[in-house]
């Protein structure tokens, strides 16, 4: 992909993740085009953190992101829906019993 981009004179696409404050995880905020990693960081700072949105930035070239297939959604996530016993609220607690 990036070879094809370079051949066509296109800057590759990068995904941007920003940590909005200390103690919080990096979160995906959007994407941008840049020729290399240093430029991607610079652009991410200019485009996505103009109003105190972040204290740290990750960038990763989009072609390196491995994503689950939408068609696999049911196979992957349905089991979590049908196993309600994984939730604490599945169990009834007798009245008056505390710290459960």
């Amino acid at each position: 992909m990036s070879e094809a981009n370079a051949a066509a004179g296109r800057w590759p696409l990068w995904e941007v993740f920003v940590r909005s404050g200390s103690g919080l995880a990096h979160k995906h905020v959007g994407s941008l085009h840049a020729a290399d990693a240093a430029m991607a960081l610079q652009h991410a700072r200019d485009v996505y953190t103009r109003r105190n949105e972040g204290t740290s930035i990750w960038v990763v070239e989009s072609r390196n992101v491995v994503a689950s297939e939408p068609a696999d959604r049911e196979m992957l996530f349905e089991p979590a829906e049908s196993k309600t016993f994984r939730q604490p609220t599945y169990f009834t607690v007798p009245e008056g019993v505390k710290h459960l």
Binding site: G9, W11, D36, V47, R50, R51
Partner: protein, 326 residues
């Protein structure tokens, strides 16, 4: 609005197949569509047009205001205007990124603008003749943009809705800084008040036209509404803009240049006149006061920046080759 004259084609009822019906049923349930989900070609195409036209508007919209950066009346005003114009560039980039998720490359989107195939909002084809125009644009044009864009934060396409959330947060700053420029002029000398009134006189009708043709003349918006990529009709948004803006003009002590404007107590809204729709269609067709200048400036910027884009790629390739060899 920033996306005028983009309406989805109306498909025949029988033309919808099973997948399309399932898709529309999903929309009815309020499920957000993401880039990897199945979507009808017409939805993809209409959204690509709508989002890219919106992006083009943000980028071209930098030009009228950029015109005043070097001549802002104070260092503070200059810093504020720079920040505002930088935001517009950012808005363009969020939106191009959102449009790209639909499968069209950035280059193709930009090429559609530069070749004249794609449109951008008619409003940016008017000139900024005085400093007061910078105030009028922030107050009126960004004010109109907010009215249009807030509903779009709930539109059916995830990447577009998320871009809109960011944009709306920033537009409030734009509108207030514009109003503040107008307020300062209105509290100034008689000449400064006259400048503010002159700017309102020239920007009022183009702002009213931003919402696009009257509903009766937009026969295709039903599909866009069903697809939740347009949530309110042109006329409904226009009414909201008038109702919200007239009291602000009153607060400034300025006169809205519409002889038909009057409060309708029964409706709880202002009645107002018709803009010159011929002028609107002429501007959309490319015959506004600044169409050629605006597009010319974008083409020149793109061509003169070509060596930078190429050099950055060459530099990246060289560094990558060095790393591979080490």
């Amino acid at each position: 609005m920033y996306t005028q004259m983009v309406d989805a084609p109306e498909p025949g009822e029988g033309a919808r197949d099973e997948r399309e019906r399932a898709f529309e049923e999903k929309l009815e349930r309020g499920v957000t569509i993401e880039s990897t989900d199945w979507m009808p070609d017409a939805y993809r195409k209409t959204l690509t047009r709508q989002i890219s036209q919106h992006a083009h508007s943000e980028i071209v919209g930098m030009l009228p205001e950029g015109n005043w950066i070097t001549r802002a009346p104070s260092l503070e005003r200059k810093a504020i205007l720079l920040a505002k114009v930088q935001d517009e560039a950012g808005h363009g980039l969020y939106l191009y990124s959102a449009a790209e998720t639909l499968g069209t490359s950035r280059d193709d989107l930009v090429d559609a603008l530069l070749s004249g195939r794609a449109k951008y909002s008619s409003i940016f084809n008017y000139p900024t003749l005085t400093w007061a125009d910078v105030g009028a644009i922030g107050w009126l044009v960004d004010g109109a943009a907010i009215i249009n864009q807030i509903p779009l934060t709930r539109c059916s396409y995830g990447p577009y809705a998320r871009a809109m959330v960011r944009i709306c947060k920033e537009e409030s700053f734009h509108q207030r800084q514009g109003f503040d420029v107008m307020k300062t002029l209105c509290e100034g000398t008689p000449q400064q008040r006259a400048m503010a009134q002159d700017a309102l006189d020239r920007w009022w009708w183009p702002s009213i036209m931003m919402f696009g043709p009257p509903d009766a003349a937009s026969p295709n918006s039903a599909t866009s509404m069903r697809w939740k990529i347009k949530l309110f009709s042109n006329d409904a948004l226009r009414q909201k803009f008038v109702d919200q803006t007239v009291p602000q003009a009153d607060a400034l002590g300025l006169r809205v240049p519409d002889p038909a404007l009057r409060w309708n107590a029964e409706r709880g809204s202002y009645d107002f006149g018709e803009p010159d729709w011929n002028e609107f269609y002429e501007v959309v067709r490319g015959n506004g006061p600044c169409n050629r200048e605006r597009l010319g400036a974008r083409v020149r910027a793109h061509e003169e920046g070509a060596w930078v884009r190429e050099a950055a790629l060459a530099h990246a390739a060289k560094r990558a080759a060095k790393r591979a060899a080490a």
